[in-house]
Symmetry: D3
């Protein structure tokens, strides 16, 4: 059975949910199920998480509690996506690794959000891949790959089509770990991907077909791997 994990970034979860976007994503996932795929889809916290974390910081909450609010937001996002896949069920989003394993052993597609403070949804995606025995995580975001600099700010930024784990870690090791700020790709996710030889492909998810292609093995976006 073909298997894969998809991490959906903020583009999929604007503050006012966009049914068209969610329908597009759900349709890709159903097509993959129809082709025999087994999938795990990890929803990021998106703008909702950032808004709640921002408010929590004003309340004096610690980074761990801010992380927790971000995780709650990502689970609400995951719940909504889940409704687009199974509108006749109350969404039940795995909240720990054991319930994730249970869900994945009885379902062909599992939708989840974050699991634990101190652990990004990128990391959750890699753990899901480990558990599932998948060697591929597709990180769908609003940029079509990993760049030498932020392409939205620096016109000279160039896309890097292939990075080794070591190169990726070097690129990421200077990035922050504040709650809600894991943007590009989380360092710990790369470290775990490396221990299990899991490749992470970063694609632009605003065109769901690119997620489909990446899962089918097409070489688009940027790839982090051995």
């Amino acid at each position: 059975m073909e298997k894969g994990v998809v991490k959906l970034g903020g583009f999929a979860f604007p503050l006012r949910p966009d049914p068209a976007v969610l329908k597009g994503l759900a349709s890709i996932f159903k097509r993959l199920l129809g082709e025999g795929f087994k999938l795990a889809v990890v929803a990021g916290g998106g703008e909702l998480a950032r808004e709640f974390i921002r408010a929590a910081r004003e309340a004096g909450a610690s980074e761990a509690v801010c992380d927790e609010l971000g995780i709650m937001a990502s689970r609400l996002n995951a719940s909504l996506l889940s409704v687009f896949l199974r509108p006749d069920e109350v969404p039940e989003i795995p909240s720990d690794f054991t319930s994730l394993s249970r869900a994945m052993s009885s379902r062909r597609i599992t939708v989840l959000g974050g699991l634990q403070p101190g652990q990004s949804t990128d990391t959750v995606a890699v753990l899901a891949a480990e558990l599932m025995g998948s060697k591929l995580v597709v990180k769908a975001t609003d940029i079509d790959g990993i760049y030498t600099a932020d392409p939205k700010r620096d016109p000279r930024a160039e896309k890097i089509p292939k990075l080794t784990y070591e190169e990726a870690m070097r690129l990421l090791s200077g990035l922050p770990t504040r709650a809600g700020s894991y943007e590009l790709l989380d360092l710990q996710a790369v470290r775990l991907a490396m221990r299990s030889g899991i490749r992470i492909r970063v694609v632009d998810g605003r065109d769901p077909e690119d997620i489909y292609r990446a899962l089918k093995g097409v070489d688009i976006g940027s790839l982090v791997g051995p």
Copy 2:
């Protein structure tokens, strides 16, 4: 010990949370705790609930599943408010009546959202009052009482300072029960209030002092009672 239940409407939970509003509310609740009050605070789903329900409807979800998404949104709102009261704890929002009872028996203030599809957060507030032995629910909303018509649309609408349960039920019995639409006051909430002789006072929560006054017994807004 003085006791009371507060239901917070959408004004407290805009889509982008407003820390100043939440601080103002938290400060009123802390003052009441300082004066020896025991409190339960029920967060409504607000705009977040409406947005998620709107999207879920497009996915073809049933009213019960839409209710459930609205409840999840109300719990996220409750979590954020809870952080303003106890920033050093992971918010744990009671998700059923038993966990509500457990929380209320060990805490002076309990924050919660919705509990169950088919049951508005107004109803949850009345049930919390029954459990707690309180005879007062303060419904804080963005209007300063119950009017003969919608005061935002009809300039001749007049505030009704006092309604019997029967009058309130007659006024409300034509209103809809669609998920996310319990606006004025939920009929089932009034029916349960009647069985236990609980008064419901509707006030404008945008001035938190009015919530304080209502809990202290001041005759403002509109009162539904025996």
Copy 3:
């Protein structure tokens, strides 16, 4: 797939359980399963609930706590009925809406009792129908329909074969909401049925064949609908 929800009133759950009655009901449900039906069966609290609520009132318990005891009793009733359907399993009765959804998505027949104080088992039946996508709730009781008055007391009472939601609500709006007293048909159940266009058929369950007929669409008893 044909679908339906059955609410079983007190006739099915006398204080000393009657195995013959439960066998008769189980046999109807198994026949329907054999014909491809998907079912949810909601057990009322019956006499057991009334006895425990009566005692709890003497202890000074609030209506909400009395409701809770009635719900516990309904779950014990549901457990026993469940044993007649699956004698080789420990009965697990869904205690909230999420576990109900989980049970219904993995089982062809789900047996449950009450869920939440302030919410009758009639209401639970309508919510189960919403979730399941069924447009029919069969309320099996010890009278063969809805009457203009209590037929056990008033010889001039006449059966009403068809009521609109509005007519039903008018009939029911004067009835009490005390714990354990939802007898004829719960008003809130009708309100929720209306929001989703679910018909409620009231039949005499003492002849289980009437439950079967009602689920198969035969026009017996009384119907509340659009």
Copy 4:
């Protein structure tokens, strides 16, 4: 702190609960709390358990499932007793040993029913005593002690005021272990009492004062001990 465990037999839980009996028992327990006692009270399944087990047997349920129904009945009994002690809380009856420990570490009095098939409520009482560090279990039943034969049938039956563990085990080893039939005193309970040196005193609970006296160390009824 003085400590003790009370096992309440069927006399306390007739099919139609008797508020006067429960008030009498609750009043004894409150008096003991007032004197500084720490208590665990184990409710037997009583007639409710026997009725449900009888019906379940007709459904073809195994002994283990019958045990489970008896346990559910005992928990309903425990819930009702709990309401007489704390009418303003939803009763939460520990359903396993871990939740029992949690309850006992935060409460001065814990009410519970059975825990596990294959384990009588007598055994549960001894385990609760072990956990609590109490050396005394008072088994309150409708006979004032252990007799050489069934005193209700055999006029020559004589009460045995003191039995060693070995004598008790010899007396009990011929008795059945069918679900719902642990009547006199469960053999396994005596075996566990022996491993921890816990004494079991059998008294007539129909006079609650005898339970009080037994907990205060008065030599009434029959004692099983070292």
Copy 5:
């Protein structure tokens, strides 16, 4: 469907787990599944349990708490065995009778450890057999049957190929019930086996083929039965 329960004694769970032993056992269980068997496998606590109980006693823990630690150790053993059966899942070991029933109704093979203080893993195996409707428990240990005396100490000890329940109970009634010391066969397990007519066959599990043979009905080791 053929059914059976296996209790694995300490030989399977040395302090340093032996993958070869676990592979051998897993291979037998998979073969039986391939032949259409339904199985429950109960892991004992082994040396790990004894070591943790020994330490807990030095901490002044009660027998019930020592039992609990032994149960935790047995669950860790069960988790490891479970990984040999399903390496791609997080092991979930049923911790009470209800979760055991749920696991057994959805899985062809269920692995568990102890459930409850005061109840040996032998007893758990008999309860699992009752629930499953199996009439056979195979107790796999490091001796090939029940002997007149400890064959490791007494050269004149003779194997008893067949014992009635009564004979077994007489043999066992003198044995201790201290946490971690149920070695030969637990008396309560025999009592429960008797109530349901379940036979217990004791075999040497160090040769996994003997477990296979015993489940297939071969007359080896010692049999306790009617």
Copy 6:
């Protein structure tokens, strides 16, 4: 209130638990409680984890499942330590961040093990510190600090008394992330410590007094900080 988190490495949890070591540690913790401290103590998986992970690898388990077994082992270790602190309670080890928060808000000392695959117990210790509002994690291991090389193998290794977060990350970034192998100090733990300004002091826990001293602010071992 003074606060601190202690991470206990493998020295505290040999395969055969050493009651003297656990008593020594418990005694330090009780002394600190007596002085008004609030504590969280995180048990590592130690040799037990390594043994179970080694066996699970032979079964073909993924790194994530191996992590999970290591976490289970760490919780068993935590349970035993907990018995030395509260011998009259069934140890309940928080298994996720929410239950950790609940435990820490009601207890002066909380004992836990690992929480989640992909997250070392070092990381758990830092998260606990964030949640608790403590600025200090004491990592007690079997070496008295962080060295330039492994002092057990390289005689020229020198202790580094003070490292900035950046220095520590540079030192650690080459180390592996395989399940059970986080030895020196986990990189992710340092990253999270940095985001909240938490200092990590590495001391030799074999002398429990050094743990005490480190918590009291004495400058021993090695310190990672701003």
